[in-house]
């Protein structure tokens, strides 16, 4: 019950006019940035991180809580009205959502996405409150070798499970690991990969990496495709849900939340798999199967709930283990680090008040979004009508401002541009961005754990393999690595078997 009291204290901390105002600013900016095509929640936090440098940690995290849910909320609006999934987790929402909008049911699609996000967000945040302390109890007994194993699992899994091509996932991951290596080695003080450039000695800030790859990359990508068609915003009607919409939505919301949270909470479970599973489940269970493919409300309600629940789920490994498994969590972790706070098992003991305020902030932000944004959707939609030149000029403007402010040196701007060009290349060649972002932040952490393990074993390589936990984790890694081989064998055997019935018939 200690946790409940701590959470109530968190609510007490947040329910002051000043903090509520900060939460309100957070959800507003989060929604706005989340709506911009090609950007997302991670981007919103990365762009705002420099602005919060002057705030108290508590206030900054209240704001991040708001941005977190606001960003996801904004992303679904773009998916439904523009037919562009802002992030890979909205791909499934686009399927039915855009069709609904085309059929004049955009208001209902947005409403079910918004209420579903609220329901899923609330359920998942409650689950977070109960699951995170259990995870902490488990994590407190883990040593450096186990941490190393879990981090390797997270890295391998983000690179290979998500996306459609493993080799591209690993290319992105390695790029991130190399960027993470740049700078002074924390143990020996030697400079790595700086090539004598003094400004690189402190390494490349994750914020600059995220803003460069996402925001500047997106702006350059828009420039590259300037003459390739236009996005069309579908008009929304009134945002409301009829009785039959409610009846058809509540089941998918609950099932989506149940699917999303566990996937998010597992390192590198991601949002893609649960959103897709939710879609398939709803199609199977629906009484309106014929509507699927033509705008079935279940196909928006379920995946959107799954998306939100999994996003909240990713906070479990982030807070309890210090393990970021998606871009948003990676940027949030960087935010913790800027305040000199290291997420992990000790976080709940050392910074209890801060963590519970953050969690309370999630509840408050989520509720604010529902109350404020449902009636305001038509106004938000206007944001999608901003002409692209102004939109992206503004994005470049704010990206430059944030990057410059991380160190107060123009050098950051060159790094930002270089990463923007990398982001442009990754978009052009369909290379996933997430493994890179996770690699930048998790790579150096994994190296530190590995070197700590070897230090404990006196340099003996067996020190990297600790107790049963790391054996299990390495087993899972082997399974992930060997899975394509198994699939290949299965396919080969299936192909060999195929001609038989033909010759028999």
């Amino acid at each position: 019950m200690d946790n409940m009291n701590a959470l109530l204290d968190g609510f007490a901390a947040i329910l002051t006019p000043g903090n509520l105002l900060i939460a309100l600013i957070g959800v507003t900016i989060g929604t706005a940035v989340g709506m911009l095509p090609g950007l997302g929640t991670a981007m919103a936090i990365a762009l705002l991180l420099p602005i919060t440098y002057g705030m108290e940690p508590t206030q900054a995290f209240i704001m991040f809580g708001g941005i977190f849910y606001g960003g996801m909320y904004g992303g679904s609006t773009t998916a439904i009205l523009l037919n562009t999934p802002g992030q890979s987790s909205s791909v499934v929402t686009v399927l039915e959502g855009y069709k609904m909008a085309r059929n004049g049911r955009g208001g209902q699609a947005l409403a079910t996405a918004a209420i579903g996000s609220f329901v899923a967000g609330t359920i998942a945040t409650v689950a977070l409150v109960f699951v995170t302390p259990i995870t902490v109890d488990f994590a407190i007994g883990l040593g450096a070798p186990e941490y190393f194993a879990i981090m390797v699992l997270a890295l391998v899994a983000t690179a290979s499970v998500l996306g459609t091509s493993r080799v591209r996932g690993f290319a992105s991951l390695l790029l991130g690991l190399v960027i993470g290596t740049i700078g002074i080695d924390a143990v020996t003080g030697q400079q790595r990969l700086t090539y004598g450039v003094p400004e690189l000695a402190n390494g490349i800030d994750i914020v600059v990496v995220a803003v460069g790859a996402f925001a500047v990359g997106e702006a350059l990508w828009t420039a590259a495709r300037r003459r390739n068609g236009k996005d069309e915003v579908v008009p929304v009607g009134r945002v409301w849900m009829g009785r039959s919409d409610w009846r058809r939505s509540w089941g998918p919301w609950l099932r989506g939340s149940a699917l999303g949270f566990p996937f998010g909470a597992v390192p590198a479970g991601g949002a893609e798999v649960p959103t897709f599973l939710s879609y398939v489940t709803e199609r199977r269970l629906s009484k309106h199967k014929q509507e699927f493919g033509n705008g079935a409300i279940e196909g928006v309600a379920g995946p959107e709930a799954a998306n939100n629940a999994s996003a909240a789920g990713t906070l479990v490994p982030m807070l309890a283990l210090g393990l970021p498994c998606n871009a948003t969590a990676a940027v949030m972790l960087a935010a913790f680090q800027t305040y000199g706070i290291q997420p992990g098992p000790l976080l709940f003991a050392n910074e209890s008040a801060l963590v519970w305020t953050l969690i309370a902030g999630l509840f408050v932000g989520n509720a604010m979004l529902l109350v404020l944004n449902m009636p305001l959707i038509p106004i938000w939609v206007k944001l999608l009508r901003i002409p692209k030149p102004y939109l992206f000029a503004g994005i470049l403007f704010f990206a430059s401002m944030g990057a410059y402010a991380t160190s107060g040196q123009p050098f950051e701007l060159y790094i930002l541009l270089a990463l923007g060009l990398i982001g442009l290349g990754m978009r052009r060649f369909g290379i996933p961005m997430l493994p890179m972002i996770v690699g930048v932040i998790l790579g150096p952490m994994a190296e530190r754990q590995a070197r700590m393990s070897l230090q404990l074993s006196g340099g003996d390589l067996s020190g990297l393999v600790g107790g049963p936990v790391s054996w299990t984790v390495y087993g899972i890694i082997a399974l992930i690595a060997l899975w394509p081989l198994a699939a290949l064998v299965r396919r080969r055997t299936a192909r060999d078997r195929e001609p038989e019935p033909a010759s028999a018939g």
Binding site: S165, L174, L220, Y390, G394, A405, P410, R451, P484
Partner: protein, 195 residues
Amino acid sequence: MTGEHDAATAETGAEDRAADRVPENGPAEHDAAETAPAPRDLAQLWVCGFLAVLGVLVIVDAARLGGFSASNDPIGPKPVPIILGILLFAVAACYAVSVLRGGHGEDGGAHAGERFDATTVGLLCAVFTANALLIDWLGWVISGSLLFWGSAIVLGSRRYLLTLAAAAVLGLATFYGFAIGLGLALPAGVLQGIL
């Protein structure tokens, strides 16, 4: 390793189908990717080259590092970059094989045939670089406004004066709001003392 990409696509095939269905009503550029199998996109070999060059850079730098070990750090800073370098070569090779076998990235190679507007990208980079060069001298208000104005013009805005006004407002507002209000490190430059 040659079957890596194909196996991976088989594994995530279910998601592929979901992703493939998205563009049905989408912009015309996706249609080509849907009806015909995407042609081999050999431009992807640039990525392989980039990865290999990066591998060389990483290993050359690692070789320079002193390979000493201390009691509190048995392996030193060297092994990690060397492992990364080797992995970079391996991934570059697998990537090349995947490309030659007709593999493509997340969006099914939809952008392979698209016109790549290098002029606009180049101009945008120039505007961006100009801001980096001028920011300390002219200050954020002027250089940031120029950045906004230049980017908007490059990206196709034709309302020169209106854009300039918007740029100036943004520059001043962010400077007063963030630099003076929130203590963000933005330079005043030549306007020092005026702002």
